[in-house]
C-alpha cells in the first residue's frame, strides 16, 4: 500500500483517533477536564435536574412495585421482629443514654454544630457509575472546594472537589482518590480512610499495637483541617494485616447507601457554640 493509501485507510484513522483519545484519558489534565465539565454541567444543569427528578420518581415507583410481592412475607417477618424488639427495648433505654453522652463527646450533634447548605443530586458517574455525584448547588450559592458532604446525623459521604457556577462535583469517600484521617470512637485508634474503587471504604495504616475491633465506629479526625472532626464515616466490619504486616487495615461499612443518595448537606462552617 502506498503512503497516501495508508493515511486514508480505516486502520490508520482508528489508530490515530484511538491514540489521541486514550492519550488524553491517560494524561487526565485536571484543569481542562474541570473546565469542560463546568461548562457542560452549568449549561445543562436545569435539564439534568428535570431528568434526575424523573429518574428518582421512576426508582421510587420501581421499588414500590417490587415491594408489593414481598408484603406478606414482610408482614410475617415484622411480627416476629416486633416481639424481639419489645424485649430489646428495655436494654436500649440504657444504651440511649450512653449514646447521647458519646454524641456530645465527639460532636455528632450536627445541626447545632455546623452551618449547612442542602443540595440535591442531579447526576452521577465515574468509577463504575458511583464514584462522584453532581449536586445542584455551585459557586453562586457559596459552594467551595473542600466542603464536606454529609447525610443524616453527620454521616460523611464525600467532599466537594470541583465547583461550577450552578453545580458542583462531590467525590464520595468510596472514591479511589479519596483519603482522609480517621479515628475510632472510644479507643482513639488513628488511621487513614481511603476509598476502594467506588465500592467500599478501607481503614489503613493502623498501628499493630492500637486496639481495633469489629463494630468500632470510625469518625473523621479533622487532620489536615479540610474535613471537620467528629463526622461519622462508618463502623469497622473486617480486620486484616497489611501486605507488609507492619500495620493493620480494616473495611468500613458506611450507614449511607451511596447508590441511592438524593439529598445531602454541605458543611459551610462550624458554628461558634
Amino acid at each position: 500500500m502506498n503512503p497516501q493509501g495508508l493515511s486514508h485507510s480505516k486502520f490508520f484513522r482508528i489508530v490515530i483517533v484511538f491514540s489521541i483519545l486514550f492519550g488524553f484519558a491517560w494524561w487526565n489534565p485536571a484543569p481542562v477536564d474541570s473546565f469542560l465539565r463546568g461548562v457542560f454541567h452549568t449549561v445543562f444543569s436545569p435539564v439534568e435536574k428535570v431528568f434526575s427528578g424523573v429518574a428518582f420518581g421512576f426508582r421510587d415507583m420501581r421499588e414500590f412495585i417490587s415491594s408489593i410481592g414481598n408484603l406478606k412475607r414482610e408482614n410475617e417477618r415484622l411480627s416476629e421482629e416486633n416481639v424481639r424488639l419489645l424485649a430489646e427495648n428495655a436494654g436500649l433505654a440504657f444504651l440511649r443514654d450512653e449514646n447521647e453522652t458519646i454524641r456530645k463527646t465527639v460532636g455528632l450533634d450536627i445541626r447545632k454544630r455546623f452551618d449547612m447548605l442542602s443540595a440535591e443530586v442531579i447526576a452521577a458517574g465515574g468509577e463504575g457509575g458511583h464514584g462522584f455525584v453532581v449536586i445542584d448547588r455551585g459557586s453562586m450559592q457559596g459552594v467551595v472546594t473542600g466542603m464536606s458532604a454529609v447525610v443524616g446525623e453527620g454521616v460523611l459521604v464525600g467532599v466537594v472537589d470541583e465547583v461550577y457556577p450552578a453545580s458542583a462535583r462531590v467525590a464520595f469517600v468510596t472514591n479511589s482518590e479519596s483519603a482522609l484521617g480517621g479515628v475510632t470512637v472510644g479507643s482513639g485508634t488513628k488511621g487513614i480512610v481511603r476509598g476502594d474503587r467506588g465500592l467500599g471504604i478501607s481503614y489503613s495504616m493502623v498501628l499493630q499495637a492500637d486496639p481495633l475491633s469489629q463494630g468500632d465506629r470510625v469518625v473523621t479526625s479533622g487532620a489536615g483541617g479540610t474535613v471537620p472532626s467528629g463526622l461519622l464515616i462508618g463502623s469497622v466490619s473486617s480486620i486484616r494485616d497489611s501486605g507488609d504486616r507492619l500495620f493493620r487495615e480494616a473495611s468500613i461499612l458506611s450507614p449511607a447507601d451511596f447508590g441511592k443518595l438524593r439529598f445531602l448537606y454541605l458543611i459551610r462552617k462550624e458554628q461558634s457554640l
Binding site: 482508528i14 483519545l21 477536564d33
Partner: protein
C-alpha cells in the same frame, strides 16, 4: 442547519440521560457503556465506519464529560467498537438477522466489560482478573437487547430527520 441542531440536541440528551437517569436509577455500571456502544455499533453498521467515526467520537466525548469519568476513555472505546463493527460488517450483513444481533451484542458486551476493567486500571486497581464468562454472558445479553432497541430507535430517528429536512415539512 436544522438537522445539525437536532443531532446535537440528541447527543446532549443521550449524555444527560446516561448521567442523570441511568446512573442514578440503576446500580449496574455496565448499563450506560452498553447503551453507548450499541449506538456506536449501529452507526458504524448503518453509515460505514469512516462516516460514523466523527459522530461516534462526538457522542463519546460528550458522554465522558457528562458522566464525570476520564475524558476520552468512553470516546476511545466507542471508536474502537465502531471500528471492529465496521471491520466485520460484511459478516454482519451476510449472516442471518438474528446472528447480526448476536455478533453486535457480543461486541457491545465485551467492549463494556473491557471499558470497566481499563477504567478501574486508570484508577489504580485491577479488575482484569474478574472478567469471566459468568460476567460476560449477562453483559452480552444486555448488549443484544440494547443493540436491538438502539438500532431501531436510530433507524426511526434517521427517518424522522429525513422527513424533517424535506422542503415541504412544516
Amino acid at each position: 442547519m436544522r438537522i445539525s441542531v437536532v443531532r446535537i440536541v440528541a447527543v446532549v440528551a443521550l449524555s444527560v440521560l446516561g448521567a442523570s437517569v441511568l446512573n442514578l436509577t440503576f446500580s449496574s455500571p455496565l448499563l450506560f457503556p452498553v447503551v453507548l456502544f450499541s449506538i456506536a455499533v449501529s452507526l458504524s453498521l448503518s453509515r460505514g465506519f469512516v462516516r460514523a467515526l466523527p459522530v461516534v467520537v462526538g457522542i463519546g466525548l460528550t458522554a465522558d464529560i457528562a458522566t464525570l469519568g476520564r475524558i476520552g476513555l468512553l470516546a476511545a472505546f466507542s471508536a474502537g467498537v465502531a471500528y471492529v463493527a465496521g471491520f466485520i460488517s460484511r459478516r454482519f450483513t451476510v449472516e442471518h438477522g438474528l446472528m447480526m444481533h448476536v455478533f453486535a451484542g457480543f461486541l457491545v458486551g465485551a467492549g463494556a466489560l473491557w471499558f470497566l476493567a481499563v477504567s478501574s486500571w486508570f484508577d489504580g486497581s485491577n479488575l482484569f482478573p474478574t472478567i469471566s464468562w459468568g460476567r460476560a454472558v449477562p453483559a452480552i445479553g444486555m448488549g443484544i437487547v440494547s443493540f436491538t432497541v438502539m438500532s431501531a430507535i436510530l433507524s426511526r430517528f434517521e427517518q424522522w430527520l429525513s422527513y424533517f429536512d424535506s422542503p415541504n415539512a412544516f
